[in-house]
Subunit: 491 residues, 2 copies
């Protein structure tokens, strides 16, 4: 794969001088079109250490309008970053629509380094690359163009470059310990990098391998490739039909997992009081142990309006310290959130180690309300199942304890509760016009829920279905489920 | 001051039981009104260690609709926080309009602790409190209500509480080393806290001192005080006249600091090339030393359209490593930014140590374009001078190198440049309708600039006025100014 970048590509000074003004004008022109579009751009600048990545980025930034570009150096993660799944540090800096983010170092660095040093196995390496591929595909579909450059140097050229830099008193600072270590490991890195690039050079998000020895050739090739990629992506988006957004009013199967729940389950007042207090007393010290064990927890609550999500959450938080938990209610996204992939607003709020985030509605809105009401296209909610599974896998692989509750009630019980809310003064704030409108689409919401449960109940993050017509039963089931899980995870 | 909270306030169980439902209903009611308003709320829960702050916050959260509240524990700062001025960690979590943030630990903690342990002097202590007072006043004017609680315990009561907790096997974990140290230092803390509270209990943002021994009294007093404060603030805002926003078309004094600049200053091509290259060569290693010296730098560029801000910035970035700098162009705020005090969007983007942020337009928009075009009220831009000075003082006190450039050109030169932009293909993207509209208000912009320079040229952050009709002179002056400053600061 790298052979094509070892042929001695060079560019004459004259050619360079002639081409640069054209390239600059084109870069500015295409950047201007980008700023007005709903496309964001991530440029990954990878490659051999010492191949001149930073130098080329410096040049690009000089040619572009620097105000629309942000450069991110992915060195050692900060402590805030270490307390979240590895991809968090990339998510938090994804550029919004219309802007360019240049990453020096990327989500390929960790898999390549760990494989080159032998700290992960071949299957683990491939697994990591598959996750990266899925991530890049998702970014592309969500409106982020990823342009990947790999600057390549032959070992001989690398050694020559290092020697030259080391001899130059003004430049020798550029040669780091890490570079020298890398020169020694060149063969191993080359092999691993090649494997990584092969596996991740998809038609959608290809790698551009650039021979790096001659700086004129390197700068100009990167710039021209970037221009071509941007033009193509902008043209594609302009030509693509607007995604159709229409309400999805599917009907649920007559027998389904929600309807098959035993809604008669109930708990008497005495048993309720006893089990509630017992569970709460046990829960308190366990949630405090999260910090000590360096774990975090995310609880997700979904279910029809008036299913008792708030009440169940309150029984949990009663037993928890305000220092450890946060209840997040998912409302309409802000404009910054809308300018990013839809999962961005959940990534950005991931809890630190030792903390608990409780979601009153969640990222599942994509396949529930957004699907039913037509706030997103069919293509969008259909691919969301896999995207959500990947997101949750990133969480659970990191050690986040994730529990998802579906609180189930039937339409008759919902009506009774709506009416009750209307006549109880301190509950009136809970009932809105929208609740009545949603109720009219009961079947469509049930169909969406059934499909969601089916497609996102994974081994590490299964849905817990809670028979919620009897509130006491539901609350105790939620509490005891959390408790059992914490005991298992924190022992 | 604390004597009123040492009188043995208690609440009978019966009274408590009777009052709680009322308080809960009122809390929810007022929180609902808050959510629909343009007011945000910060609740500071301070006081004696062991007085039950967390317990009361837990109770409040149970009574409130937890979805509108976020709790923040201000323990040890993270490394990302340590790389910014001390107030950054508070700015980044200020609640947006309509929401409540509860802070356990606050901007009072550091001054009180450092004074109690004698690590800062009395004048430093008072200086810190004055800054806090100015900060709180600003928050209030920007739509954030600060409600400050101080939970007080007599030393005897504190000792009793500690002993009781320590004896309880389920609770003794609550008593930390820090608590015990605090019990010993009670007298000192009491004195310092009292001084801090006295100085910061303004009519606008008073402290509510609550006797903390009896939990029923404590919970209910806090809740009732919160309800009253919220009601009062909401009523005040409802009654307050809408701030009038009108363009400010003042005229500048005939002789003023900008007009008195010697616009004939120029640099020949040879001298320009020589000095530019020399300065750039020196600048490069200096900016790299920022990291080593644990400093960051912020450069601000203001001036009329076409004054050459972009060109001057490019001559700087040419000499810098893409890893170290970021060019920030200030555009319209996002809706998240609009839901916060206007300086929030600048605070949130403060550079890490070792980094340089270059602003192409800046927070001075408040007293320039927003003033002239009437995007904010007269009251808002008039108080902005002091608020900006306080912001910049926070930066420079932290060690941030801050340099502010005003690039001055006259109206005739601007016209020449506009026309040039219109006929040069790769410059056309720079000229818009808006530029022509702003040009028509030249005098008003000049008046605003003159006042700005006058009121925000402080000792630690003076304005550097740059005669910019000759671009070569301007660019070299900017570069050499940065250079000189870096040499002085990093030696």
């Amino acid at each position: 794969m790298f052979e094509t970048a070892e042929v001695g590509n060079r560019m004459e000074k004259e050619t360079y001088k002639r081409e640069v003004p054209k390239v600059r004008a084109e870069l500015l022109e295409v950047q201007k079109r980008l700023a007005a579009s709903d496309l964001g751009v991530v440029i990954l600048m990878g490659g051999v250490e010492g191949a001149g990545k930073t130098e080329t980025v410096n040049q690009l930034l000089e040619w572009l309008d620097a105000r629309g570009v942000e450069t991110h150096v992915m060195d050692e993660p900060t402590d805030e970053e270490r307390e979240r799944p590895p991809m968090w540090r990339f998510w938090r800096i994804l550029p919004p629509k219309g802007r360019i983010g240049v990453f020096l170092g990327s989500w390929y660095t960790a898999p390549i380094v760990c494989r080159a040093f032998g700290t992960c196995t071949e299957p683990e390496f491939h697994e990591a690359l598959d996750q990266v591929a899925a991530f890049e595909t998702m970014l592309g579909r969500e409106g982020l163009l990823v342009v990947k450059f790999w600057l390549h140097l032959k070992q001989k050229a690398l050694k020559k470059r290092m020697a030259k830099l080391e001899a130059d008193p003004l430049q020798h600072w550029r040669v780091t310990e890490r570079d020298l270590k890398f020169v020694k490991k060149y063969g191993k890195f080359r092999k691993v990098s090649e494997a990584a690039l092969m596996r991740s050079s998809t038609g959608e998000v290809p790698w551009h391998i650039v021979e790096a020895e001659d700086w004129r050739y390197r700068h100009l090739t990167v710039a021209q490739t970037l221009i071509a990629s941007l033009k193509e992506a902008l043209a594609e988006r302009a030509a693509a039909p607007k995604p159709k957004r229409a309400p999805d009013l599917s009907r649920p199967p007559k027998t389904n997992i929600i309807r098959s729940l035993d809604m008669a389950k109930k708990l008497g007042e005495n048993a309720y009081e006893r089990r509630l207090l017992k569970a709460q007393a046990e829960l308190n010290p366990l949630t405090r142990r999260l910090r000590e064990k360096e774990r975090s927890m995310i609880l997700v609550f979904e279910g029809p309006d008036a299913a008792g999500k708030g009440g169940a959450i309150r029984r949990l938080t009663q037993a928890m310290d305000a220092r450890t938990y946060r209840v997040i209610s998912v409302a309409a996204p802000t404009d910054e959130e809308r300018a990013h992939p839809y999962l961005w607003r959940f990534w950005r709020n991931l809890p630190r180690l030792g903390s608990v985030s409780i979601y009153d509605r969640s990222w599942y809105g994509r396949v529930l309300v957004e699907r039913v009401e037509g706030f997103c296209s069919k293509e969008e909610w259909q691919r969301a199942y896999a995207e959500i599974n990947a997101f949750e896998e990133a969480l659970t692989n990191f050690g986040t304890i994730l529990i998802k509750f579906w609180l189930a009630i039937g339409p008759t019980e919902q009506l009774r509760r709506f009416k009750d809310r209307e006549i109880t003064p301190y509950k009136q704030y809970k009932i809105t016009e929208e609740d009545w409108r949603n109720r009219a689409k009961w079947d469509a919401y049930e169909a969406a829920a059934v499909e969601m449960i089916d497609k996102t109940s994974t081994h590490s993050a299964p849905w817990i279905l809670v028979e919620a017509e009897n509130k006491e039963h539901a609350r105790v089931k939620v509490l005891e489920t959390v408790l059992k899980r914490l005991k298992r995870e924190l022992k």
